[in-house]
Amino acid sequence: MAQMRSSQPRALTRMEIDGGSPVLPREVITSILIRLPVKALIRFQCVCKEWKNLFKTSSFIAEHLQHSTHQNPSLIFEDYGIPDPFRVCLLDSEMRVLEVQSDPFFDSKRCVWTINSCNGLICLGIVNVPRSLSLLVWNPATRETRLVSEVVDGCVDRTLHVGFGFSQTVNDYKIVKICDSENDFLVNEVEVYSLNRGTWKEVEFGKLDGVGMISGGFAFNGAIFWVGLKLAVDEDEDDIEIIVSFDIAAEVFTLIPMPPLPSPVISASDRKYLTVYGNKLALLSHTVSEDFKSSLIHLWVMEKGTCASRERWCCTKKYTSSPYLGCRLGYMLVPVTIWRNEVVCNVTEMPSDYLIEDEGEPDDERRIVMFNITTNEFRTLDIRKFILGYGIFNYSESLVPVGNMHVEQLCF
C-alpha cells in the first residue's frame, strides 16, 4: 500500500488529468513497479532517469524481492551436466517450466554445481581444467555474473563444503568455504568471502573441533547451516550428528543439536536437508519401512529460545507424511525442500546393498514427488523431459546486484 497516514483527513487534491489518464503519485507507481518481472524492469530502465535510478535503490530492490518471494516462489532444478553443459530449469508458481538462459561461461564442459540460492542470487561452484575451483555468483534474472577468485591451492583436492547467504545486519552476501582433509574428514580451514569487501579472509573455527561436515550449506535468517558429524572422542561412543550454524554478520560458528530422529533403516543414504517452514528453520528426514516398500517423510521445525533454559534450540515434529507406496522396490523418497506448502522429494535409488531382487529393466524413475503438508496428498511431477540429474533449490527472481567485479551484463 502506498504510504498511508490514515488519521487526519487528507487534502483532497483533484487528480491531475492530462490527456485523459490521471497522473499517479510516485508511491503508487512504485507499488505497481515492484510487481513487475525483472525482465520488464530491465527494459523499463529506458523509460526515464527517475525509473532507472529507482530500480537501483536498495529499498526498491528489497520490496521487489519481497513481493517476488510472496507471489511467485519458484524452484530451480539444476542439471549437473557432464558431459553436457550445465543447465538450469525453473518451475514457477504457475507450474510452468522455463529453461533459464545460462551464461556463456557454463557452455564449456566444466563441472558446475549449485551451492545455494539466496534472494535471487545463485552461487555456483565450478571445477576447471586444469584443476582449480571457481565460485560464481549469478543472478539469472538480470543475467549478471560475478566470478569470485579462483581457488588454486590444494583445497580443491580436499573436500569442500561451501555455503552462501545474506545478512541483513551487515547488508552483505558472503560465501563460506569449509575445507577438510581427506584423511580424517575433519574441518581444518575456513575462509569467508564478502561480496561487499571483495576479499577472502580466514575465520576462527574452534567450535568445529572434531566436527566433519556432511551436507551442503543452507542459508536462512542471517545464518548458514550445515549438517555435520561430531566424531566421538572415545572408541565406544557413537558419532553424533549435529547442525553447524554460521552467523554471517558475526562470522561465528555454533553447534545445534539434531532433533531426536529414529535410527535409520538404511544408514548409508540417510541424507537430511535443511529448509524453511513457517518462517522457521526446519529439517527434513525420511525413513523407509523395513520391507522397503514404503517411504515416510518427516518434518521437524527448529525453534530457538522456546525452551525453559536460555537460548536453546528445540525441535518439534511438525509433520509425518502418509506412507508413499508409489516407488518401485529399490527406490525411496528423499525430501529436499519445502515449496508452497509442499514437501518436494527426489525419487532416489536405494544403495545397491539394499536391493532385494533384480526387477529386470528399471523404469525411468526420474520424477519429483510432492507431499501437501495440509492435505497429506501427494502428486508426481514428471521432469524427465527437462533434466537428467538434479539438485533442487528454492528461488525467487530479484534485481539484487552481484557487484562490479567481472560483471557481464546481458540484458533484454
Binding site: M1, M15, L24, S31, L36, I42, Q45, C46, V47, C411
Partner: protein
C-alpha cells in the same frame, strides 16, 4: 453516538449520493477511521475526487468483500480453497474494465480510501497490463518524459540491448 449506524452515505464528486453498509465501508481504512471515531458524527461523506462511475465500482468491491468476510466468519474461520478461488475469479472479472483510464481511477480511489485489497488488486492488474509494453508506450501511459540525452540513450541501448521506442 446514540444509535448504531447501519449505513453511511457517500457522495461522489459529481454530487450523487450512495448508501453503503457499515460492513462494506469498513473495507476502507479511511471510512473505518471515521466510523470508529465517536467524535465524528457521520451523515454524508464527500469523496471529492471520486466520480460516480468509479464510486459505484468501489462500493461494489467493498460490498462483495464484506459479504465474503461475513460468510467466512459464519462458517467458523477459514475460507475453503474453492471459496477463495471463487472470490479470486470474481476479482478478476471485476477488474475487466473497458477503458484503461478507469483502471487508474479505481487504483487512485482505492489508494485514497485505503482499501488494501482493491489497491493490491488494481496494482497487480496494471502491472500485468504494462509488463509487455515498450518504453515509449509506458511513457505515454504514465505521462513521463524521456529525459536521457542522446549519448545516454545510445549507451543504454547498447548496454541493455533495448530500444527507447
Amino acid at each position: 453516538m446514540s444509535s448504531p449506524v447501519e449505513q453511511i452515505t457517500v457522495v461522489s464528486s459529481d454530487g450523487d449520493e450512495f448508501k453503503m453498509t457499515v460492513a462494506a465501508a469498513m473495507q476502507s481504512e479511511q471510512l473505518k477511521q471515521m466510523l470508529t471515531d465517536d467524535s465524528i458524527s457521520i451523515v454524508k461523506v464527500p469523496v471529492e475526487n471520486i466520480s460516480t462511475e468509479i464510486l459505484v465500482k468501489v462500493i461494489e468491491y467493498c460490498q462483495k468483500h464484506a459479504d465474503h468476510e461475513a460468510a467466512t466468519k459464519a462458517n467458523g474461520g477459514g475460507a475453503s480453497d474453492s471459496e477463495a478461488e471463487e472470490l479470486n475469479k470474481w476479482d478478476a472479472e471485476f477488474m475487466k474494465v473497458d477503458v484503461e483510464d478507469k483502471l487508474f481511477h479505481i487504483l487512485m480511489a482505492a489508494n485514497y480510501l485505503e482499501i488494501k485489497g482493491l489497491f493490491d488488486l488494481a496494482c497487480q492488474t496494471v502491472a500485468d497490463l504494462i509488463k509487455g509494453k515498450t518504453p515509449k508506450q509506458i511513457r505515454k501511459i504514465f505521462n513521463l518524459k524521456n529525459d536521457f540525452t542522446p549519448e545516454e540513450q545510445e549507451r543504454l541501448s547498447r548496454q541493455h540491448n533495448c530500444s527507447f521506442d
